[in-house]
C-alpha cells in the first residue's frame, strides 16, 4: 500500500545549500526516517543523515520536519495529509556539517561545564540508601536521551548566537536540577551557579523545550521553574536568606 509522497530536503554545508524535492514511496506504518533511508538507497546515496537506534531511544536523528524540531524515527508518515510536501532540514540552532547533519558539539562542551555528582565522602559502594520517592524527580530527568531538540528549539540560543557562551540550555538545566534534587549529592552551590554561571536567568519559561521533548520530560515545570524557585530561595528572598545564614546552610533537608 505504498503511496508517493514529496519530500523537500535541505542539502548543503556551511557554505550554502538549497532545497531538493524528491518523490518517494511511503509504506503503511513508516516514519520519516524510513522514507529518508529509501531516498538514500534509491536516489541520493550520499545524502547525509545521522541516526542510530531507530526506536526513539538514542536521540540521534534530530532534525526539523515542517519547521518543527523532531526525531525522524518517531515522526509517523500518517500524521501528514495526503499529497502534502514534507520539508526536512537540519537543526537550525547549530552549525551544519552536511545535509541533515549538524555539529552538536556545543552540547558536549556544556556537559563538561556542569559540576559532576558529588557523593558524601564517607559513603562506601553498596551502602547508599535512597527511598524511591526521593529519587523519582531526578529519575525523570535521567530519561533524557540527549537528542538536543530542546537546545535546538530554545530561542535563547537559536535566535541569539552570542548567548551560547553564557547559556547552558534546557538539557543542562535538567541535569542541574537532577543533581540538586539528588538525595545524596553534597555539592551545595548548584542553585547559585545555575543562575550565575549557567544562565538559568536567561530562560523566560516559554516552554518550547517541553513542547519538543520526545521523552515527555516536563522540563519547564519540573526542572527549570523549581530551579528558579530554589534560586530565589538563596538569592532573592531576604527572609530565606536570613534563615540560611542563621542555620549556616543553603538547603533544608
Amino acid at each position: 500500500m505504498a503511496r508517493p509522497i514529496n519530500l523537500r530536503i535541505w542539502r548543503g554545508n556551511k557554505n550554502g545549500g538549497d532545497f531538493h524535492t524528491v518523490t518517494v514511496d511511503a509504506n503503511e506504518g513508516e516514519v520519516v526516517l524510513d522514507v529518508i533511508h529509501r531516498v538514500q538507497a534509491t536516489q541520493l546515496p550520499d545524502l547525509a543523515v545521522r541516526w542510530n537506534c531507530k526506536a526513539g531511544k538514542c536521540g540521534s536523528c534530530s532534525m526539523e520536519i515542517n519547521g518543527k524540531p523532531r526525531l525522524a524515527c518517531m515522526t509517523r508518515m500518517n500524521t501528514f495529509a495526503e499529497g502534502e510536501t514534507i520539508t526536512v532540514t537540519p537543526l537550525r540552532a547549530f552549525p551544519v556539517i552536511r545535509d541533515l547533519v549538524t555539529d552538536v558539539s556545543f552540547n558536549y562542551k556544556k556537559a563538561m561545564e556542569i559540576p559532576s555528582y558529588a557523593p558524601p565522602a564517607n559513603l562506601k559502594p553498596g551502602e547508599a540508601r535512597m527511598e524511591q520517592i526521593d529519587v523519582e524527580r531526578s529519575q525523570e530527568f535521567r530519561k533524557c536521551i540527549e537528542c538536543f531538540l530542546c537546545q535546538d528549539t530554545c530561542h535563547v540560543i537559536r535566535d541569539h548566537e552570542e548567548n551560547k557562551k553564557s547559556f547552558a540550555g534546557p538539557r543542562f538545566f535538567i541535569r542541574i536540577a537532577e543533581l540538586d534534587m539528588h538525595p545524596l549529592d553534597t555539592l551545595r552551590n548548584r542553585k547559585r551557579t545555575a543562575q550565575e554561571s549557567h544562565g538559568l536567568g536567561m530562560c523566560n519559561i516559554t516552554k518550547c523545550c517541553t513542547e519538543v521533548c520526545p521523552e515527555h520530560i516536563r522540563i519547564t515545570d519540573n526542572a527549570i521553574i523549581p530551579m528558579k524557585e530554589r534560586v530565589v530561595d538563596v538569592k532573592y528572598d531576604p527572609v530565606r536568606w536570613l534563615g540560611s545564614k542563621i542555620r549556616k546552610r543553603e538547603d533544608i533537608s
Partner: protein, 266 residues
C-alpha cells in the same frame, strides 16, 4: 535575527518553516488579554456599580473596599481615610488591583503567555523572534519576576477576602440567610481563584518542592503530590479564573445598573 541566520548554520531564508497556524495561539492570547485589560481599566475608573445591596454582592475588583468613597457595607477593613487626604478622588479599585495584577503579571504561566504573544520572544516554538538582543530575566526590570512569591502570599490574602465576600453573599431577598445566582457567581469566582493560586509553581515549591528528602516529610510530600496534579492544569486555571473575575464583576455591574435581576433561590 542573526540567530537562525548566523554563520555556519544551514542557509535557510525563512524565519520558520512551520506549516501549521502557529500564530493563532499568540494572537488569541493578545486578543483575550487586551480585552480584559480594557474592561478592567474601564471598570477600575468607573468607580460605581460595584455593589449590590440586596444580597450583599461586591465586585472582586473592589474588594476589600478601602476608600471612604466606598458604599456603606463594603468597607471590610475600614478605610484609609477620606479621599480628600490623597488630594484627588481615587477609585478604591486602583488601590487593591495592583496585588492580584502583580500576582498574574509575575506568574510563570502568564509570563510564558505574554512573552510569546506581546513580546514575541519567541512568538512560537521554532519561529525566529524579531529582537536583536536578548538577556531574559537577568536584568532590570525583568529580574523582578523573582518576586513572584510575595505576590503569591498577597494573593492568598485576597483569596481569603473574596471567599469571605462569597459567604457574605448568602443572603435572601429579605436580608436573612439565602442564596442567589450572585452567591453562586462569587462562590465560583473564589473557588477558581483558589485553584489558580494553589496550582501555582511557587505554591508547589513552598509546600514541598524545595525539599531534598520527601521521605522525611511525608505530609508535605503528600501535599506536594496533590499540588503537582493541580499544577499540571495551572494554565487552564489561569484563564478560567481570569474569566471568572471578569464575569463576576460584569454580573454585579449588570445587576447594579438594573440591566438584569439577581435571581434568588430562597
Amino acid at each position: 535575527m542573526a540567530g537562525v541566520h548566523a554563520e555556519h548554520r544551514a542557509h535557510i531564508q525563512e524565519r520558520t518553516l512551520r506549516t501549521d497556524r502557529w500564530w493563532l495561539q499568540p494572537a488569541a492570547t493578545v486578543f483575550v488579554l487586551v480585552s480584559f485589560i480594557i474592561y478592567a481599566t474601564f471598570r477600575a475608573f468607573e468607580n460605581k456599580h460595584y455593589f449590590v445591596e440586596k444580597g450583599e454582592l461586591i465586585s472582586p475588583f473592589y474588594s476589600p473596599c478601602l476608600s471612604d468613597a466606598c458604599v456603606e457595607g463594603t468597607q471590610l477593613f475600614g478605610t484609609l481615610g477620606p479621599s480628600s487626604l490623597w488630594g484627588f478622588a481615587i477609585s478604591p479599585a486602583l488601590l487593591i488591583l495592583i496585588f492580584p495584577l502583580g500576582f498574574r503579571l509575575t506568574c510563570y504561566y502568564y509570563r510564558k503567555a505574554y512573552y510569546r504573544s506581546f513580546w514575541q520572544s519567541p512568538p512560537a516554538c521554532a519561529v525566529a523572534e524579531p529582537h536583536k538582543k536578548y538577556t531574559g530575566e537577568t536584568k532590570q526590570p525583568l529580574i523582578l519576576q523573582n518576586g513572584h512569591r510575595w505576590f503569591f502570599y498577597a494573593g492568598l490574602v485576597f483569596n481569603a477576602i473574596l471567599t469571605y465576600d462569597a459567604f457574605l453573599a448568602f443572603h435572601g431577598p429579605d436580608g436573612g440567610f439565602g442564596m442567589s445566582v450572585g452567591t453562586l457567581v462569587l462562590l465560583a469566582n473564589a473557588t477558581l481563584l483558589w485553584l489558580y493560586s494553589l496550582s501555582c509553581h511557587t505554591c508547589r515549591h513552598t509546600v514541598g518542592g524545595r525539599l531534598r528528602h520527601f521521605s522525611k516529610h511525608p505530609l508535605r510530600y503528600k501535599l506536594w503530590t496533590r499540588i503537582s496534579i493541580l499544577n499540571h492544569h495551572h494554565a487552564n486555571f489561569a484563564w478560567v479564573s481570569l474569566f471568572g473575575v471578569a464575569f463576576a464583576d460584569l454580573y454585579i455591574r449588570l445587576v447594579s445598573t438594573g440591566a438584569i435581576t439577581n435571581y434568588f433561590f430562597f
